[in-house]
Amino acid sequence: MKRLLTRHETYVFLAIVAFSIVITVINPSFFTLENLFDLLKSYSLMGTFAIGMLFVLISGGIDISFTAIATITGYTIAVLLLKYGESLNIVSVFLIAGGIGILLGLFNAAIIYFFKIPSIITTIATLNIYYGILTVVSKGKWLYGFPTWFGDFNNIRVFTLYTPDGIPYGLSIITVIWFALILIGWFILRYTILGRSIYAMGGNPASAQRAGFNLLGLNLFVYSFMGLMAGIGSVIQALLVQTVAPNSLVGKEMDVIAAVVLGGASLTGGTGSMLGTILGVTLIAIMGNGLTLMHVSSLWYKVIIGFVILVSVGVSAYRNKRSTRKHIITEVN
């Protein structure tokens, strides 16, 4: 119990429960399986990006360019789908998008590692480079009219239930993909040497290097993993809206970072967990969804999200301060 109270995740979870109760009291349709499945599907995109972002933040870096990477991978697969649509399948689409994402991520990592340029600077620069070049090449055109199999995949449900009115709903395949990615990410972070070394590098890169960790390899892995998630995310986005627009993702970097940070990942590296990240995404998701269901004007949405972020980081900063003070006192004694 005491251990639970010291964990950031507990507080995020309590906030989620509190919000859910309030929303349900005002509008009972919040607490239905139908709404839950809908939410899970529509926030799979943010959730996928968040997994990659978590890895980068734990490693002590940050990646602003992932939206531009996702724009490039999304656009590439859209062009391919329109050209060779019938000869492709969903696996190859994911592979192509993921592969390009990995390459662009590797490029980020190489610049960050070899020239010792801070990750935030590098990725701001590459964001502009990737996004600028893509917009010039694509001329800002929207792409749609994908093959039918691509649209059908979006509607696959692992199991189907019916509302009293006979409208089908259920667990979407897209949510399942997101869950699988979560499991993979969680496993890597928790149970592999690779995952533990990412924590080590984020906690203190100098000592990690002296302890014999291969920082180049770790950097390459972390940023290419972010690129992979960006690539997969772009396919999810294309599946969800069946349209690829060059300007639909860039500018949303901070939303994802906010979600991961709400979940307890620190921007100085070394801390953060998959559970926290999921909770952070969930909190943002139910706030957005809940405000709509409570008939709060969407105009207020950002004010409330911003306020919740400030309160949350404020509380955790305050708790940090108190715990360090306690720590100092015990050390002196």
């Binding site: 010792k116 340029i117 964001l127 480079i129 070049i133 949405y301 950002k302 004010v303 404020g314």
Partner: protein
């Protein structure tokens, strides 16, 4: 010392190089008074915002809320102007209303700055998170105030700030030069400036040398807020309107401009002169490509490439110097 000097040198060389390149590509379209004048109209928005970003970065922080702050204070100014000056546009009192409206806008931006300062200095929230939160909240307030619409239609006195000229020199560049001058004085000639550099390079040492770190941070973010407010004045005057989401793409560009200008992301280093050169470089690329009829988005890409190239050059110079020092 050597490091900062060399960065200034690198920037100067890059600037001359780009100027010659643009001259070569576009000929006298680039090298004429008219083009330099239009550059002087375009640069100040990003320029003043970059100054706001720079001072926060010097303390090893960052201020992600500058654009949101600018939009909010722009909206406050616009609301005051459109609500008080519907009928009598030409009267002598207009200029006072404009002045008061601008003052109100600056106060709002200072208040947002104070909120950031409180969160960062008193509550010890890391700057990137605190300002991310205020960014989202403040832009939300702007949306609530405007209901997402554009507010437009300002009196001539307001429009003159963004579009007028004094003896052929555009007013916005004068505003920018004044802002840069004030910033330079604050940083170089006041105790606050010295403390900002000290705090940025080593907060612990700064604290133990008797500096009240909290007060320094608090003031830094208020100044950063006020500069966002000044940028708002230029921005809404040039657009003749205010909206909740104007200039959102500027946010990361201000970081880019500051870093290109030699402001260290880790804090403690950076001069107004470097930032000025970097802004001129960025503006020349953008104007030159524009003259060649090339898409704005390629400009973004080139800005990114220039940033990386300059950082890489710096890396090699620093390496070289370190080797020499060891030898």
């Amino acid at each position: 010392m050597l490091r900062k000097f060399s960065h200034f040198l690198v920037l100067s060389v890059v600037m001359v190089f780009i100027m010659l390149l643009m001259w070569g590509f576009t000929g006298n379209d680039f090298m004429n008074l008219g083009n330099f004048q239009s550059m002087a109209y375009q640069m100040p928005e990003l320029g003043v915002l970059s100054l706001a970003m720079m001072i926060a970065m010097l303390t090893s922080g960052i201020n992600l809320s500058i654009i949101a702050t600018a939009n909010l204070s722009g909206i406050v100014i616009a609301l005051i102007l459109t609500n008080t000056l519907s009928a009598d546009n030409g009267s002598a009192g207009t200029i006072w209303v404009v002045a008061l409206a601008i003052l109100a806008g600056l106060i709002v931006s200072a208040l947002v700055g104070a909120l950031n300062g409180f969160l960062i200095a008193v509550l010890d929230i890391s700057p990137i998170l605190a300002t991310l939160g205020t960014m989202i909240m403040v832009s939300g307030i702007s949306i609530v105030l405007t209901e997402g619409y554009v507010i437009s239609g300002f009196p001539p006195a307001m429009l003159a700030i963004g579009n007028g000229d004094l003896l052929g020199i555009p007013v916005p560049i004068l505003v920018f030069l004044a802002c840069a001058g004030v910033m330079s004085v604050i940083l170089n000639n006041t105790p606050l400036g010295t403390r900002i550099y000290l705090l940025g390079s080593n907060p612990v040492a700064c604290f133990y040398s008797g500096v009240d770190n909290r007060a320094v941070l608090f003031r830094t973010y208020i100044i950063s807020g006020i500069y966002s407010g000044v940028a708002a004045v230029i921005m809404i005057s040039r657009f003749n309107s205010a909206k909740a989401d104007y200039g959102e793409s500027y946010l990361l560009l201000t970081v880019l401009a500051a870093v290109l200008g030699g402001v260290s992301a880790a804090g403690g280093f950076g001069k107004v002169s470097g930032l000025f050169l970097s802004l001129v470089i960025l503006q020349m690329i953008s104007s030159g490509l524009n003259l060649m009829g090339i898409s704005n988005f390629l400009t973004l890409a080139l800005w990114g490439i220039v940033l990386i190239v300059v950082m890489v050059i710096n890396y090699f110079i620093e390496n070289q110097q370190q080797k020499r020092r060891i030898a």
